[in-house]
C-alpha cells in the first residue's frame, strides 16, 4: 500500500498541528472526544434521503476548524484521500433507486442521487470531525483520554507503542523496498516469494527490536504497568464547550431547523 508511504508526511503534519496552541487545543481531550462522537452519531442517525437537515451540521467542523486555527486545505486533501470506499458503495444508490424524488425546474432527481449525495455529505462531515479531533488534540493526549475514560490499559499502552514505532518501522520497510527496487528490472522481483521473504526479514528484525525495547523498559523499572504522569483537568471552558455543542447538535438533530426555515421562507416567496 503506497498510501501509508504517502500519508506518513501527513501523519507528521498531524503531530505538528497538534502542537499548536488554540482554545480548542487547550480543551480537555475527553471532552473533545465525547463531543465528536455525539456529532457523528447525530449525523449518521438521519434518514438516508435527508440532505437538507444534514447541511447545517457543517457548522461544527467549520467553527472548530477556525477556532483551532487548522489549515482547511489540509483537511480537504485528507478528505479526498479517504474518499474511495464511500464512493464505491454510494455510487450504487443511483443505479438501484431511480424513483424521482425531486423536481428542480424540469430536472428530475432520483432518490438514489439524493441518498448518494447524503452518503458523501455524511462522509465529509464525519471524517472531517474525526480529523479535527486528532489534529487539535494529538495522539498521546487522545490515548490518555481513552485511558481515563476506562478503556483497558493494555490497549492504550499498545496504541502508544504502536504509534511510536510506526515511524521507525515504516522507515525500515521503505529502505527494504528501495533495496529491492534497486535490483529489480522490468517488473520482475515483485513475486510473492520475494515479498514473503522481505516481510519475514522485516518481521524478524521487529521481533529483535521488541526484545531490545523490553530490556530497555526493564532497566528502568518496568513491571508490566505503564504509568502516565500527565493529569487531565476539566475546567469551566470544557463544560461550556460540551454543554453548548450538545445543545446545538441535539437541536439540529431533533428540531431540524433547516427544512422548517426553508418552508417558512418558501411561504413568503410568490409561488
Amino acid at each position: 500500500m503506497a498510501r501509508i508511504d504517502s500519508s506518513l508526511p501527513d501523519l507528521s503534519d498531524l503531530d505538528g498541528l497538534a502542537c499548536r496552541d488554540s482554545p480548542i487545543h487547550r480543551l480537555d481531550p475527553r471532552i473533545k472526544l465525547l463531543t465528536t462522537l455525539l456529532f457523528i452519531v447525530c449525523v449518521v442517525s438521519f434518514d438516508k434521503h435527508q440532505l437538507s437537515a444534514l447541511l447545517p451540521f457543517a457548522a461544527y467542523p467549520v467553527v472548530l476548524l477556525i477556532l483551532a486555527r487548522l489549515p482547511p486545505a489540509w483537511i480537504l486533501r485528507k478528505l479526498l484521500l479517504a474518499v474511495p470506499f464511500a464512493l464505491c458503495v454510494g455510487i450504487f444508490n443511483p443505479l438501484f433507486d431511480r424513483t424521482t424524488l425531486l423536481h428542480i425546474g424540469s430536472l428530475e432527481i432520483s432518490g438514489g442521487w439524493v441518498s448518494f449525495a447524503s452518503i458523501m455529505l455524511r462522509f465529509a462531515l464525519t471524517v472531517s470531525a474525526a480529523l479535527i479531533l486528532v489534529a487539535s488534540t494529538g495522539f498521546d493526549a487522545l490515548c490518555l483520554a481513552l485511558a481515563r475514560l476506562g478503556v483497558p490499559r493494555p490497549f492504550v499502552v499498545q496504541l502508544l507503542l504502536l504509534y511510536r514505532y510506526l515511524f521507525v518501522l515504516v522507515d525500515e520497510a521503505l529502505r527494504l523496498s528501495r533495496a529491492r527496487a534497486q535490483r529489480s528490472f522490468a517488473g520482475r522481483g515483485m513475486e510473492l516469494t520475494v515479498v514473503a521473504s522481505l516481510l519475514a526479514q522485516l518481521l524478524l528484525r521487529t521481533l529483535d527490536r521488541a526484545q531490545r525495547i523490553y530490556l530497555a523498559m526493564q532497566c528502568r523499572g518496568f513491571d508490566g504497568e505503564v504509568r502516565l504522569l500527565r493529569r487531565l483537568r476539566i475546567g469551566a471552558s470544557d463544560v461550556l464547550f460540551l454543554t453548548g455543542w450538545t445543545a446545538i447538535l441535539l437541536a439540529l438533530r431533533f428540531l431540524a431547523p433547516a427544512p422548517t426555515l426553508g418552508q417558512a421562507i418558501g411561504r413568503l416567496l410568490p409561488s
Binding site: S7, A58, L67, T126, Q158, R164, A196, L199, R209
Partner: protein, 355 residues
C-alpha cells in the same frame, strides 16, 4: 475492507461498538492474567509492523492488481488470540484516527470484522486445529490458507450484513454479497499464501518464536462458550435498547422496521441454497421497499422481491411527489443555514485576526 461512518446507522454502529468493547475488555483481562510483561512491547511493535508491512505490496498473479498483508492471522500465530485481537484493534484505531479509514463510529464494525473473526474464530477453530502445535511446512500452508480465507469471508459477510442493516446503501443484499465474497476469496488466497510463507521463514530462522506462541492457550473451551454467551447477551441488550430508544425518540421509521423485523423469529436455517436465496431476497426487498414510501404505507412490508424492480422503474408509485416542495424548501433552508455557518466562521476569523 473498511466500513465507513457514512454507510452505517447508529444502531449498527452502537451494537458493534458494544460487542468490540466487550471483547477488548475480555482480552485485556485475559492478557493481564497471563502475567507476561514481555508481551507489551511485542504487541506495540508488531502493530507497527503490520502497518509497515502494508507498505510493501505485491502483484496478485494473473490479475495485475496488487494486494497487501491483512494481519489478523499472522498476529494470532505469533501472539495468540487475545494479544493479537488487541493489537489488531489498535492498528484499526490508528487507521480510523489518522488515515480516515472507516471512522470513529464504524470502528466497532471494523474491529469486529477484521480482528474478531481471524483471531477468535479462524485461528482457534481452523488454524490451530489443522496445524497443531508442531506443524510441518505443508500443514502450515494448508492451515494458513484455510484460516485466512475463512476469516476474510466471514469479515466480508459481516460488512454486507452491517451495510444491509444500516440501510444507507441501496445495494441489494444478494448483489453486494456476490460482489464481496469472490473478491475476498481472491484476496484470501494470496494473503493465505503470504502468511504461510512468512510463518515458514520465521519458523526456520527462530523456531522458538513460533513454539512459544503455540504453547499459549488458544481460546480455552469454557471461556469461549462464556465469551460467546456474554457477547450475544450484550449485543441483544444493546440492540434492543438502542432500537427502542430510536423508535420512540428519534424519527423512527428505519428503526421501527428493523425493530419489528428483529423481533421476528429468524428463518430456520435453510437446508438448500434455493430456500436461502429466497429468504435473503425477501429480506432484501424489505429495506428498499420502506425507503420509497411514507410511513403510512409501511404496513405491507412483506411484499415480494419484484418490488425492487417496480420501485426501480419508478412508474407506479409517485410517492415523492408530495415531498418535492418540501425538499425544495429543505434545500433552500439548508443553503441559508450553510450561509449562516459561513458567516459565523467569517466573523470568528475576523475576531481572531483583530486580537
Amino acid at each position: 475492507m473498511h466500513m465507513a461512518d457514512a454507510l452505517i446507522s447508529p444502531l449498527v454502529g452502537g451494537v458493534m461498538w458494544a460487542a468490540t468493547a466487550a471483547i477488548t475488555a475480555y482480552s485485556a483481562r485475559k492478557l493481564d492474567a497471563g502475567g507476561d510483561d514481555r508481551v507489551v512491547p511485542l504487541m506495540g511493535v508488531l502493530g507497527a509492523f503490520i502497518f509497515a508491512a502494508q507498505m510493501i505490496n505485491f502483484s496478485i498473479p494473473g490479475t495485475g492488481s496488487s494486494g497487501h498483508l491483512g494481519g489478523g492471522m499472522i498476529l494470532s500465530i505469533l501472539l495468540g488470540p487475545y494479544a493479537a485481537f488487541l493489537t489488531m484493534a489498535s492498528v484499526l484505531t490508528v487507521q480510523a484516527l489518522f488515515f480516515a479509514d472507516g471512522g470513529l463510529l464504524a470502528l466497532g464494525c471494523n474491529i469486529f470484522n477484521l480482528a474478531f473473526f481471524p483471531c477468535f474464530v479462524a485461528y482457534p477453530l481452523l488454524y490451530r486445529t489443522i496445524a497443531g502445535a508442531h506443524a510441518s511446512e505443508k500443514r502450515i500452508l494448508v492451515a494458513s490458507l484455510v484460516a485466512v480465507i475463512a476469516g476474510l469471508q466471514l469479515g466480508a459477510l459481516a460488512v454486507v450484513l452491517q451495510t444491509f442493516f444500516s440501510g444507507v446503501s441501496e445495494l441489494p443484499f444478494a448483489t453486494f454479497l456476490l460482489l464481496m465474497l469472490p473478491i475476498h476469496l481472491a484476496i484470501g488466497i494470496v494473503e493465505g499464501l503470504l502468511t504461510a510463507a512468512i510463518v515458514t521463514v520465521v519458523g526456520r530462522a527462530r523456531p522458538e518464536v513460533l513454539a512459544s506462541a503455540a504453547a499459549l492457550p488458544a481460546t480455552p473451551r469454557p471461556g469461549r462458550g462464556r465469551l460467546l454467551a456474554q457477547l450475544l447477551l450484550l449485543t441483544a441488550v444493546t440492540g434492543g435498547l438502542l432500537s427502542w430508544f430510536a423508535s420512540t425518540r428519534m424519527d423512527g421509521l428505519e428503526w421501527a422496521i428493523f425493530h419489528s423485523s428483529g423481533k421476528e423469529a429468524l428463518p430456520a436455517p435453510a437446508t438448500d441454497a434455493h430456500a436461502l436465496a429466497a429468504t435473503l431476497q425477501e429480506r432484501t426487498a424489505l429495506l428498499p421497499d420502506y425507503a420509497f414510501r411514507p410511513a403510512a404505507e409501511e404496513g405491507d412490508a412483506a411484499e415480494p422481491a419484484a418490488e425492487v424492480a417496480a420501485a426501480g422503474s419508478g412508474k407506479e408509485k409517485e410517492w415523492p411527489d408530495v415531498s418535492a416542495g418540501t425538499s425544495f424548501a429543505g434545500l433552500l433552508g439548508a443553503t441559508l443555514s450553510m450561509l449562516l455557518a459561513g458567516l459565523l466562521g467569517f466573523a470568528l476569523l475576523r475576531l481572531r485576526q483583530r486580537r
